[in-house]
Amino acid sequence: MNAEISTARELLHRLLHSPETRAAFVATGPAGIDAPDSLHSALESIDHRQLTATADAIASGLIHRKHRGSPGLAASYSKSLESANLTAPDAFKEVVRRFVGSVPFANYREIPTAEGKGLCIEEAFFLFLEEAKLGDSETRRNEFWTALFRALALQPDPNFRIPLAVQRTWRGYRYVAATAEGPRLYAAVDGRFLTGVLTPLLANVLATNGARHPNGPQGWDECAQRLQTMGVLDG
């Protein structure tokens, strides 16, 4: 019985998220999606029109869904989508449909399950854009870290998985990205989102967690002090 449930779960996932699986199912029925005989009669009861409408509603929900501190995928990734000429409603809808059928989407979880927390929607969409190489790489990365840290600023104990590269501090989170303009800090501290390009010294202080070098350069302590005051470095 449990095997049947787990197979049904897997098939439902594919039917809802993969346009190819849906097309095969509509054309040839349960046999077309390698469903076991035990589930044929249950799957034959599915109304194809309703299945398609539900799948469309899932994509549409992703397009319109906003979370506290997050304005939605189109706004969060507006520059990446613009650089890939994907801001027109139909083009964006098509991108989201492709996203729903992707591996990163399968790793996204709005609610933790027994398997634990999953990716947040912002990270899943970013990984999808990366894989599809949609838009400019540096813009994508900047938009992702911005969206993630904005979310963390308001939800410091999130129900989604935080990327391993993000460092926890006493008052929040930080990450320093290498960008063309220099090391850029992204931080979520005391409910606020912070970002800015760091001087090489500030970046060094953060990289060493403020540990003072015996022959540390001039201004090290002042930098550490400043970062501690901002809340991105623990004292």
Partner: protein
């Protein structure tokens, strides 16, 4: 098997409100103040004579659930409620028709804290697939209508019921067309009755959900009210009525507060058939900023008040 009913007197007519965040019919956020119940909610409740209320839980954000995050908003609601005989919780996260392996420990702990703090008399949720693999469905899908699906649902309901500090009321799921489809061939009334009998759980019958099932089966007219004796009528503690519409020959559970005549006819037929019925809720009414019910909803609501008056008088 004994049925685990909420311990309460007869309640008659109540109301159900879906308390979403950032919604004028739920909680509103103000900078510097935080989340508070929208002014129109208590205004509406004070203008009506409801005996009880249930509130649908909605997550505030994507944080791990913690009671302290919800206390300011929920306290503001309870501080402004008119006198009510009972309050209850309509859950949205239990996922009783789940096909996933669930770890509900933290969710159930949070739920019990909410129940205790606000002295909520029961917890209700539709028997449906609310999420699949941790991703929410646009509208809960009915559970898998197969023998294996029923066995799983019995397991899930038994497990949740045993962990809650108040009785669980399982609600017959919706078959609303548009964002919903059915997997399996078992009759949903039989499925629901067997589940209730096997678990001893009390149930909620939603008139829109029942009609949507009959509509989905292709029934029309008088046939919409057929097969009622296949339902777990002895387990029925509560009936819900939310706004429904028929659009392009599709039965849609829109929750806009405008009751269809078929819902009220079905209520009339259920009233004498449910010996343990104690509560009837007008679910998700829509009202303006002064708390006045939308004019389109008034005829149906007045008929509902008439139908439940004898019940209310005996309370």
């Amino acid at each position: 098997m004994n049925i685990r009913f909420p311990e309460t007197e007869e309640l008659g007519l109540g109301v159900g409100l879906d308390l979403r965040y950032g919604d004028p019919h739920g909680f509103e956020h103000s900078p510097g103040i935080g989340d508070r119940i929208s002014n129109r909610v208590p205004l509406f409740l004070r203008q009506q004579a409801f005996n009880y209320a249930f509130f649908s839980f909605q997550p505030r954000d994507r944080s791990v659930l913690k009671l302290e995050d919800y206390v300011p908003a929920w306290d503001s609601l309870f501080e402004q409620l008119p006198p009510l005989q009972r309050c209850a919780l309509h859950h949205t996260l239990l996922n009783l028709g789940s096909l996933d392996e669930e770890d509900r420990g933290p969710l159930l702990e949070f739920t019990n804290q909410l129940l205790e703090r606000y002295n909520l008399a029961w917890v209700n949720e539709d028997l449906g697939i609310w999420s699949l693999g941790g991703r929410l469905m646009p509208y809960p899908l009915p559970p898998l209508l197969t023998e294996a699906g029923l066995e799983r649902a019995i397991r899930e309901v038994t497990s949740v019921q045993s962990a809650l500090c108040r009785p669980l009321l399982v609600e017959f799921p919706g078959f609303s067309e548009g964002t919903n489809f059915v997997v399996g061939t078992m009759n949903a009334y039989d499925y629901f009755r067997i589940l209730a009998e096997e678990t001893g759980v009390a149930v909620t019958l939603d008139t829109g959900h029942l009609l949507s099932y009959q509509w989905w089966l292709g029934r029309r007219g008088e046939d919409l009210y057929g097969d009622l004796d296949r339902l777990p009528l002895k387990h029925c503690f509560e009936i819900h009525l939310s706004g429904c519409e028929i659009l392009d020959d599709r039965f849609v559970d829109v929750h806009h507060g405008v009751l269809r005549p078929e819902q009220l006819i079905l209520l009339e037929r259920l009233l004498p058939r449910c010996p343990h019925l104690k509560a009837i809720a007008y679910e998700d009414p829509k009202f303006d900023e002064r708390g006045a019910l939308r004019s389109r909803a008034i005829p149906g609501f007045e008929r509902l008040q008439q139908l439940t008056a004898p019940v209310r008088m005996s309370a």
